[in-house]
């Protein structure tokens, strides 16, 4: 996302220009995946700025040419006239400790799955959670605030939990190795163990 008066109108002009992300998080990886389609790798200049608010405000102040953010900062930026140059989505992950048992994980998934049904039936009804999040409510208000009508609903995609496929794990692992984001000596099989999620998915389906 870039400022309203930014000269940038598509990602191809962002070469060597600072772009605010949070390293090792979704904004970092999505930025690389999107920009590598427009720019040589060595022209992609990402800068770690931390939280979405810090990234958004660095863009707004002009410290960086662009920032990578998620909702509700996209809705706020668009309300303020900022331009989205490209947009990507990624899979969220539930990360459980090694003492999480299958039955508990399945019960959690059933509860969250029912909530996803409620959410997808009427997304606007639940957007107050994004607007009133204590992490950034004050910051949103500083820029004029948001209402549920300010959000583009198809952007909010919530689906029930499934295990990563081996193919997705392998493709992501090789992509991370190529960008130097993971030790190439590690193997995908060492990093991901879906033994609980797979059983829990079966239990959740049976419920």
């Amino acid at each position: 996302m870039v400022r309203p008066d930014s000269p940038h109108n598509y990602p191809g002009t962002l070469g060597q220009r600072p772009i605010a992300v949070q390293f090792h998080a979704g904004s970092h990886y999505v930025a690389l995946r999107l920009l590598e389609g427009y720019l040589p790798n060595d022209k992609i200049k990402l800068v770690h700025y931390g939280s979405p608010q810090q990234r958004f405000e660095a863009m707004w102040r002009g410290e960086v040419d662009a920032c990578v953010v998620m909702e509700p900062w996209i809705a706020l930026g668009e309300k303020l006239g900022c331009k989205a140059l490209c947009e990507g989505h990624y899979l969220g992950a539930e990360n459980a400790s090694d003492d999480m048992d299958e039955a508990t994980f399945a019960a959690i998934n059933r509860a969250v799955g029912k909530a996803i049904d409620l959410l997808n039936a009427d997304k606007r009804r639940y957007l107050h959670y994004l607007i009133d999040d204590p992490r950034h409510a004050q910051a949103l208000a500083k820029y004029g605030g948001l209402t549920p009508e300010d959000f583009h609903l198809p952007r909010l995609r919530y689906v029930k939990a499934t295990s990563y496929t081996d193919e997705i794990v392998a493709d992501t692992y090789h992509w991370m190795v190529r960008w130097g984001l993971i030790d190439s000596k590690a193997s995908a099989a060492d990093l991901v163990d879906n033994r609980i999620a797979r059983v829990a998915a079966t239990l959740a389906d049976d419920a």
Binding site: Q54, A96, T104
Partner: protein, 72 residues
């Protein structure tokens, strides 16, 4: 009721979890769900080098075993 403590980070990631708690859906499943909110990070040193940033980011409660699940 089985007690579970979960990290809650940005609402966009945890939206179904927030709805599930407020609608009593965890309780229906026999789960006593407690949320621990991560705090937004303060000022961070800006860097162009990913090696200078701890990949665990704000998920310290999980690393310290104070929560048993988080999402990102």
């Amino acid at each position: 009721m089985k007690k579970v403590v979960s990290e809650i980070s940005g609402a966009v990631f945890s939206l179904p979890w927030l709805i599930a708690k407020d609608h009593g859906l965890f309780e229906t499943e026999g789960i006593d769900m407690e949320f621990v909110r991560t705090r937004p990070s303060g000022a961070v040193p800006q860097t162009e080098s990913p090696e200078e940033v701890n990949p665990i980011l704000g998920h310290t409660a999980f690393e310290e075993r104070r929560v048993s699940i988080y999402r990102a």
